[in-house]
């Protein structure tokens, strides 16, 4: 069975300061991990993905995440927040390489940017 836990339901940061969104995962296999972003009234967009290559993954819009197997974590970071980053972020796990194609989403973290 696979699952993810997003440790914060809501994060607020000031514009220009670092962003940290926390995620822990559970998987029976070596998982694939993703972060998706959902802006209001828009579809889900893939930010970045980890699929057993480099443990530090760079994504779009300056986001990156580090896979830490010992801590079962996949936290999302960005050095400097921008107003356009305000959205809902989902940590996602998949066992796709082991015959299970579905994505399992966390409950989401709402990121608010303070001007």
């Amino acid at each position: 069975a696979q699952s993810v836990t997003q440790l914060d339901s809501h994060v607020s940061v000031s514009e220009g300061t670092p962003v940290l969104l926390r995620c822990n995962y559970s998987s029976s296999y070596s998982p694939s991990l993703f972060w998706y972003v959902q802006h209001p009234n828009k579809g889900l967009q893939l930010l970045l993905k980890y699929t057993s290559a480099a443990t530090l993954v760079k994504g779009i819009n300056g986001f990156e995440a580090e896979f830490k197997k010992s801590e079962t974590s996949f936290h999302l970071t960005k050095p400097s927040a921008h107003m356009s980053d305000a959205a809902e972020y989902f940590c996602v796990v998949s066992d796709w390489g082991f015959g299970n194609e579905k994505l399992t989403f966390g409950t989401g973290t709402r990121l608010t940017i303070i001007p």
Partner: protein
């Protein structure tokens, strides 16, 4: 290029009515997924097709939910005798041919409101 499209974007149904939600995946994408996103929650897996074959329907909440993809392209999610608890956004996603990591591309969703 065209992304995943869904119709209708909004649907209001009276309790007990049947509804049909349509998904047009990206051309050439073999896999198609349906997810249900309740208000304030992350998407939850409903069912998965590879071409016309429904390989996993473990997430369908009841036998009132039925999905099909008869020609391996367009898919329809049907809900019979709708209930208030069916109110949610229904998301469709497609992914490239088997063998690639399964980055799923999401449509904008259909927001179903059952009165």
């Amino acid at each position: 290029g065209a992304g995943v499209s869904q119709s209708p974007r909004y649907k209001v149904a009276k309790r007990g009515q049947d509804v049909a939600l349509r998904c047009d995946p990206i051309s050439g994408h073999v896999s198609l997924f349906w997810y249900q996103q309740a208000l304030g929650q992350g998407p939850e897996f409903l069912t998965y097709f590879q071409n016309e074959a429904q390989l996993d329907k473990s997430g369908l909440p009841s036998d009132r939910f039925f999905a099909e993809r008869p020609e391996g392209s367009v898919s329809t999610l049907k809900i019979q005798r709708t209930q208030q608890e069916d109110s949610a956004v229904y998301l469709c996603a497609s992914s490239p041919p088997v063998g690639a990591y399964n980055e799923q591309f999401f449509g904008p969703g259909t927001r179903l409101t059952v009165l």
